[in-house]
């Protein structure tokens, strides 16, 4: 009986070892009708990855990790046809599990912020009290860089652009900023992208060289 059990189990174990080593086609195995054992194996791999990546987050319990792994597993099954094969399957799967967990943890960090408060922060962003001339010391070139940036924020950006940038600097999750602005991720991304482009153009027009920026911040 015992010998029979091991005879049956050994090929399965060998299969998992090959799978972990990337020698077996995970996509095929997960799509098979009898995928329960493979699913269990992948869940264990994801859980282990989540334990490693969230080791320092003491607010995250083992039960949370198991929920994240389960949720990620469902997403992975939905997206199997999106796996490009340009990385190991397990790395791709870990990336989905991490995104699942971090998105949820960020949502829990949402703070009690109103749109009015966000817009007010945006209005204050370009004030010297928020962005002090001597943030980087009193070197003339650095003081000028900060002053030009402040002027660009005041003159080139819309209220919503200033608010989005202020929120992001204060560590608000991007999804919360999107929600407060009553828009969607793509539109909010474009809003911020346009803002960064306008600021970059203004810095270049003012003769602030990218080299100055890089040497100032390489320290």
């Amino acid at each position: 009986m015992r010998a029979g059990f091991w005879m049956a189990v050994r090929p399965l174990l060998a299969k998992f070892h090959r799978m972990v080593a990337g020698e077996i086609n995970w996509v095929e195995a997960l799509q098979a009708a009898d995928n329960a054992a493979v699913l269990g194996e992948l869940r264990a791999i994801l859980l282990n990855g989540l334990r490693i990546s969230l080791r320092d987050r003491h607010e995250v319990s083992e039960a949370h990790l198991e929920d994240f792994a389960q949720e990620a597993l469902l997403k992975i099954l939905e997206r199997l046809n999106q796996f490009s094969g340009r990385s190991k399957f397990t790395t791709w799967a870990h990336s989905i599990a991490i995104n699942t967990a971090f998105t949820e943890l960020r949502r829990k960090r949402w703070r009690d912020v109103s749109l009015d408060a966000l817009l007010a922060d945006g209005r204050e962003l370009n004030e010297p009290a928020t962005m002090a001339d001597d943030t980087f010391g009193d070197d003339q070139e650095r003081v000028r860089l900060v002053a030009v940036l402040r002027k660009a924020i005041a003159e080139k950006l819309s209220d919503k652009q200033r608010a989005a940038i202020a929120g992001s600097l204060e560590g608000l999750p991007f999804d919360q900023i999107v929600g407060l602005l009553g828009t969607n991720r793509n539109a909010a991304y474009k809003l911020v992208h346009d803002a960064r482009r306008a600021l970059k153009q203004h810095l270049m027009d003012a003769g602030i060289s990218l080299e100055t920026i890089r040497t100032t911040f390489a320290e």
């Binding site: 990855g49 990385s87 991490i98 600097l169 960064r196 920026i213």
Partner: protein, 78 residues
């Protein structure tokens, strides 16, 4: 709004400096994250698509945080 720290202001200026006309969004970045992390860990060169991931990481703290977490897993589990 509280006064910006030096670190916050560096983050803002770096993201302005790194701005390109064509950029990936977070979903695109996530699609390339696994390949990017594996190549970066062994020091393989990045192709054009992966260079755009690198640029996105400068401007997006959330994708940056996730990529660091992914690399931590790869480094730890081999």
């Amino acid at each position: 709004m509280k006064p910006l720290t030096k670190q916050q202001l560096v983050g803002l200026i770096n993201s302005v400096d790194a701005t390109r006309d064509q950029e990936l969004n977070c979903a695109d970045c996530q699609n390339f994250a696994a390949e990017f992390a594996e190549r970066q860990l062994v020091g393989l060169p990045l192709n054009e698509a992966l260079a755009r991931v690198e640029q996105h990481l400068v401007i997006c703290p959330e994708c940056r945080e996730e990529l660091l977490a992914l690399k931590k897993i790869l480094e730890t589990s081999g």
